[in-house]
Symmetry: C2
Subunit: 351 residues, 2 copies
């Protein structure tokens, strides 16, 4: 199901690489998907670097743009603009744009070529890497989607310069996750950070390398890759629940909360040392605000719908230690409930 | 993008084969997709043969069920029924059910296993074979979809016994197409038919063999497979146009009309002998009613949106002779218009 080896473009020659690829491909149409933010902040940069005709499709910024209704409008917009099987879609934006654009391109006329140009920290270190794309359906995140790598992935830190505060935090959560599951040195460096914006190019590259390495070893998510779900089983449930109430819980905050809950579970089930669990909690509480969960029981019902579950049993990726994760651990529902009550929105001291 | 070798089940042992496959797979849920017709006419047969628990999802019968809105409802219905990544979807029905069910399963949680059990002549000889699935979006047929083979394809002629008249004609059009593009012996046999219902098991198998052979040689539709589009460039446009007017032009009739137009174009552009074009026309007019096209210009605009086109040029599969097709022929728009005026809904004698 995976395309063999997307072209990876980073560093000084990256735009030259994209221009050459487009010339070789000679597409019968070039379309750019942006959201209302990246249309303003990033499209001028792309146009300057690309120097060729393109049509632009723009969706509203935010997770609410990643729906089946938006996908349907984009399929129709492509058709109305005359996009054919030989057209190319450039996805210029954060994780919503790359997830949605990857899905729309993979399914438009049964699949056209697409390029990811992630513009947020989160998308550059995580969302745009690994061929997962998808849309939210009826308040369930990523309920529909397929695995497909972009033809080209271009990472240029220039886009991070315009990033709002919130987006740095969103990305930091994923950088921290990559450290926790596979890179203790990166973790120690993160613990010394003053502000997410201080993440150096070297730390960024380390975080990207974790994701690339894991995805390359297990493109179809049959085993090892599941470690990337650390923090996300609970995190996704929190996001889905917020969506159902018409709100948005920023992905980084949701994953940070999820990592707190799942670190606590790791301590209970996988021998994560209490001192390491405390370091994780202190780090996350320093960068991410406490936000109580209105209804842990309802959150549990979302967790029970998670894609990783089998036969009604909840399964999570948990930590053995900082830098070492276990891909699949079965977790009893009542323990998940206890963990949420323990870690999210409690005012008593934690055990 | 194609799954290597779906399991192919035909003949006496086919249900035993499916039962064994399901036992080996040990799915965490078995779901059956039917439409309102097959829920009544075919589900009891399936239940008797299958002998195991299953949940049933039913869509309205007819092309109007094959929409993004229905896909969205099915994704949600699967989620609400607790379907996980280890669940299996059995698509029990005609081309609409297999196209839609294949798409929904291929994208549900980024892809679950699915089985096609085609119940109409058209689906058995054509729609269910070859891994094409998709949905109509905004009146454009199959605008979204992906290539993916079912895990298992089961063909049992028992389902044809309950088939209404119209469905025999729908299937006959595809059987005729397979004959015209690759099997002159099959074509001669069809010319001797009294009624579509008289198609023997031997002729059915010949038609299936044409499709299997072509798909096996070119699973991704990069070349040879395009011959299967004979009659379909114009046929799909007629269907899309009808859909836009809130009507339904049965697929077989649309393809039969499309084959008349494209045989005429084959005579003009590819040297199809006039006598063979006449035989094709006589056969099609004997089995399919004449139905005038209200607006050939509008039909042409739908043809221009066809997935096969590149750079605005219309491309069709045409015939060199009965039994021999050319995968891609560029056709000028004004000649297409002339062909439609010549072949569809004209009362003057034809040239």
């Amino acid at each position: 199901m995976m395309k063999p080896g997307a072209i990876w473009l980073e560093g000084p020659g990256c735009w030259e690489g994209l221009r050459t690829w487009l010339e070789d491909r000679d597409p019968d149409g070039v379309f750019v998907l942006t959201d209302t933010h990246t249309a303003r902040a990033c499209l001028p940069v792309l146009d300057q670097r690309l120097g060729r005709d393109r049509a632009v499709l723009t969706i509203p910024a935010g997770e609410k743009g990643k729906t089946v209704e938006t996908a349907s409008l984009l399929w129709q917009a492509l058709a109305n603009a005359g996009a054919g099987r030989g057209s190319v879609l450039l996805n210029l934006g954060g994780g919503v744009v790359t997830d949605l654009g990857g899905f729309v391109a993979s399914t438009y006329m049964r699949g056209i070529s697409f390029v990811h140009i992630p513009t947020s920290l989160l998308a550059q270190v995580d969302a745009a890497i690994g061929g997962k794309n998808g849309i939210d359906v009826g308040h369930v995140k990523n309920l529909a989607g397929i695995f497909r790598e972009p033809d080209v992935l271009l990472i240029d830190p220039i886009f991070l310069e315009t990033l709002p505060q919130q987006e740095w935090h969103n990305g930091l959560a994923e950088v921290a996750k990559h450290a926790l599951i596979a890179d203790p040195d990166l973790w120690r460096a993160l613990e010394g950070l003053e502000h997410p914006r201080d993440i150096s190019q070297r730390l960024l590259s380390a975080a990207v390398a974790v994701k690339r390495m894991i995805v390359a070893e297990d493109p179809g998510e049959s085993g090892l890759r599941k470690v990337l779900n650390f923090g996300h089983t609970v995190g996704h449930a929190l996001e889905s629940m917020a969506l159902a109430f018409g709100q948005e819980w920023p992905h980084g905050e949701a994953v940070a909360a999820g990592m707190q809950v799942e670190a606590w579970l790791s301590k209970k089930l996988c021998g994560l040392p209490a001192a390491e669990e405390a370091r994780i909690r202190i780090f996350l509480q320093r960068f991410f605000p406490d936000r109580p969960v209105p209804d842990p029981e309802s959150c549990l019902s979302y967790i029970r719908k998670d894609k990783k579950n089998r036969g009604g049993v909840i399964r999570m990726a948990l930590l053995q230690s900082i830098g070492k994760a276990i891909p699949v651990v079965e977790v009893p529902g009542d323990l998940v409930l206890a963990a949420m009550k323990e870690c999210l929105g409690e005012t008593e001291p934690r055990g």
